[in-house]
């Protein structure tokens, strides 16, 4: 009797899910009617965290980008409708020397800071000097990203030259980092840390006010150098930490969008409540969950044991199931699925743990456990962050997968502080790790896997000079085909042969927003989104 009732509920739930799915697909499929951009209006949106400081050169969080980025410009930026194409922002055009060692940028004329002073190449040089060669107690978290830069020159007010020590295929994309805001040289000269608590840029919006814990507001820059932009009169970013309150804010129309992302359930909630007033943008997300093994602990020091752990995971089945309830989804290797350097599924299935036949993979895993002398019922702990989405479901999924090869795993869920301290201090056996980047670039995504003495983001504690060599080679190889081969070799060694760190799944980005919000196209990274230059609000 109870089984029948339960079955009935399942059928009803499945039916409801199907209807919501159809609705979402319908909304995705139905194009927003074309309309000429309309100037005016104030965009209100949700930001789920607050900026620690106002200085992008020293921060790593989107919480600083989403509210403050509209006050600034970059030298070059990603063209979001054509991502990952790089286009000029303050740069009008640029040339790269034949040897790839000199990048010369010609600046736009007539660009003014919000105080009315003109922008020159001196400002660009001062900003990049602060990022790449910080002095005194100035912190620049991206200093190491630009180790290929020898010096920056500003030979005249409209020209900036970057001279490199070696050719770097990732250099131009790195300059499009959404964190590389251009500051005013005069201010930096007087007070290098002035930008930590103040705002002065050239961007489409001027600063109005910041009320800590509440909101950030900007108003249209009437002297913006792009004619007719921005469309909006202003914007207001509301800081809302609780997810339920974020959803309520969008549902009520007090906010038109949250630029980071919602879960499938939250999307369905908003779609169900707002119907055709809302549209959903979805796509791959440049974030992922991994499992890192502490190679200084037995039996994690044994590559056979680590391989067995990756072989036991049914990633394809997990993707189907978890994508229904979490923001996890795509199966991928070291590069984001669907990105330029990503391994296609046909090749991916040859890596340990990526095969379609999970039965065969688990049989091999059990064989490896026997060879590594790991007994049936072996127990270990998996450390995880206490963030419900998507960390906790991923942890539960992994434990179930490993149970199926006879391992007993305890889930130790910790607050972020102790969790990071344990991972960095080597106080763990296996841990769920993550990465979230702003662009698809092997230098960025692979860095986590090189030897621990070269990468502080590698918590595995291993040293592998083969990986280090492959990383450096791909980083300096300008031929895309050759670079791709090196990346594939790197991937095979990390994920298959050595299985030092293994991927669970990549994330899937879901942004439901009011239909009247126009001129915004979702990218693969939540860091890239809102300069709000082209965004407008329809009637």
């Amino acid at each position: 009797m109870s089984t029948r009732r339960s079955g009935g509920r399942t059928v009803r739930s499945a039916g409801l899910a199907f209807l919501v799915g159809i609705l979402v697909i319908g909304l995705l499929a139905s194009p927003i009617p074309a309309q000429a951009p309309k100037p005016g209006g104030t965009l209100t949106y949700v930001v789920s965290a607050e900026p620690p400081s106002f200085d992008a050169h020293r921060e790593t969080t989107f919480a600083m980008l989403h509210p403050i980025r509209p006050h600034y410009n970059l030298l070059v930026k990603f063209d979001m409708p054509n991502y990952p194409k790089v286009v000029g922002d303050l740069a009008e055009n640029w040339t790269i020397s034949q040897d790839g060692l000199t990048y010369t940028f010609r600046m736009r004329r007539g660009v003014q800071f919000h105080d009315g002073s003109p922008l020159t190449s001196r400002d660009v040089k001062a900003s990049y000097d602060k990022i790449i060669f910080p002095k005194g107690d100035v912190v620049s978290v991206r200093q190491a990203t630009y180790e290929m830069v020898e010096k920056i020159e500003a030979p005249n007010p409209t020209t900036v030259v970057f001279r490199l020590k070696w050719p770097s295929p990732s250099f131009l994309a790195n300059l499009a980092s959404p964190f590389n805001w251009i500051y005013k040289a005069d201010i930096l000269e007087k007070e290098p840390r002035w930008y930590e608590r103040n705002v002065m840029g050239t961007g489409p919006f001027k600063f109005v006010e910041y009320v800590r814990g509440s909101h950030w507001a900007g108003v249209r820059n009437e002297n913006y150098f792009v004619s007719g932009r921005p469309y909006l009169d202003g914007y207001r970013a509301l800081f809302i930490r609780a997810v339920a309150a974020q959803v309520a804010a969008v549902r009520s129309g007090q906010a038109l969008i949250e630029f980071r992302g919602f879960t499938p359930a939250q999307r369905d909630d908003i779609v169900k409540a707002l119907g055709d007033k809302v549209v959903v943008q979805e796509g791959g997300w440049l974030c992922n969950l991994l499992v890192v093994f502490n190679v200084n602990r037995t039996p994690f020091s044994d590559a056979r044991f680590r391989r067995a752990l990756t072989l036991a995971i049914d990633r394809w089945g997990g993707s189907r199931a978890l994508s229904q309830i979490t923001l996890l989804g795509p199966v991928g290797g070291v590069m984001r699925p669907g990105s330029e350097f990503a391994t296609p599924d046909s090749e991916l299935v040859r890596l340990a743990g990526y095969g379609r036949d999970i039965g065969a993979a688990r049989a091999e895993a059990k064989k490896l456990l026997t060879e590594a002398r790991v007994p049936e019922g072996f127990e270990f702990t998996l450390k995880n962050r206490n963030i419900p989405m998507p960390y906790e479901p991923a942890g539960v999924f992994l434990i179930d997968q490993w149970r199926q090869i006879g391992l007993r795993v305890s889930h130790v869920v910790q607050e972020t502080g102790p969790y990071l301290a344990d991972l960095r201090g080597g106080n763990y056996e296996a841990g769920i790790d993550f990465s979230c980047d702003f662009m698809d670039e092997p230098d960025v995504q692979l860095h986590k896997f090189i030897s621990a003495d070269r990468s502080p983001a590698n918590y595995g504690g291993y040293t592998d000079r083969v990986l280090d060599r492959l990383f450096t080679e791909q980083s300096r190889t300008r031929d895309p085909e050759k670079r791709l081969q090196l990346i594939r070799q790197f991937e095979k060694r990390v994920l298959d042969e050595k299985a030092y760190q293994i991927y669970v799944l990549w994330w899937h980005r879901i942004i439901p927003h009011w239909t009247k919000l126009r001129g915004w196209k979702m990218g693969p990274a939540h860091h890239l989104d809102p300069d709000l230059q082209d965004v407008w609000i329809a009637d």
């Binding site: 607050e50 620690p52 400081s53 921060e59 790593t60 969080t61 989107f62 107690d137 912190v139 620049s140 978290v141 200093q143 190491a144 990203t145 930590e196 608590r197 009320v211 800590r212 814990g213 509440s214 909101h215 509301l238 809302i240 930490r241 609780a242 339920a244 309150a245 309520a248 804010a249 549902r251 009520s252 129309g253 007090q254 906010a255 409540a273 974030c287 607050e415 972020t416 502080g417 102790p418 990071l420 301290a421 344990d422 960095r424 993550f434 990465s435 979230c436 980047d437 960025v444 860095h447 986590k448 990468s455 502080p456 983001a457």
Partner: protein, 317 residues
Amino acid sequence: MTRYIAKRFLLMFPTLVAVAVLIFVLVRVVPGDIVELRLVSGGMFVTKEVVEKERIRLGLNKPIWQQFVDWMVGMVRLDLGTSMWTGAPVSQEIAIRLQLSLQLAFMATLIAVVLAVPLGALAAIRRGTWIDYAVQVFSVAGLAVPSFWLGILLILFLLTYFQWLPPLTFTSLWKDPRANLLQLIWPALAVGYRYSAVATRMTRSALLEVLREDYIRTAWSKGLAERVIVRRHALRNALLPVVAVIGLEFAFLIGGLVVTEQVFNLNGIGKLFVEAISRRDYTLIQGLMLLVAFAYVAVNLVIDLLYAWLDPRITYG
């Protein structure tokens, strides 16, 4: 009386110093590091040198005793220091939120008192009748329902039936009373209901006890009206424990509405507390803990003074 107040006031200082020492030690025992949380928790790659440089900048490389002395020296100058996360003065961080938290605490207290005293008195006077049972059901329900859950229900109700949500940003009562009350009335109701349940039960039981006293029996035998007996002779005495409960609840509301503030997205002290702890913002946690400790000590003093006012037999010599 003046001497008593002065003595109690002076006693606040050693209490607060003891609290300060305790807080300073406790926040540093909790694992986790603000620098790593700030620079590394986003999943991006940051070198050890950068992490170390930031640690030095925040003074976290200094010995613990030196950090404590620095903080105490600041305290003597009434300087709570700067937030390690935002770089803004701790006093400023607290001041931004205190107005909202205080107003919400006052509103919730007002709702609680307005509900609790008449309902509790009515239940006591009509003991054993349907009125008593109805009041008891009402108050037990209030105790059983967490205020944040009631808050969620209120929000869902408003969203579902009116497609409306209270304003998400705080507007001062003096600037725009309508916007202010539209935002705060809902959390005040949610919190005030639970608060009133506690106070209603306390009022009822205290009044029942007083109503059994000999002097009340004497009043009845003198033929005084029920209204006069209850208002003039019973309720005033019965309010002593009620005042204590209301006072302690009020102090709790200053920093304790952690979840309710999240539900209504209120920019209050409770939300700031959670953020400070999750970020390991030591200076801010210390400042907030001191504020809460001060609130409790101050409220206790006020309660003692109220006792004397309510019951003339109580004197502080």
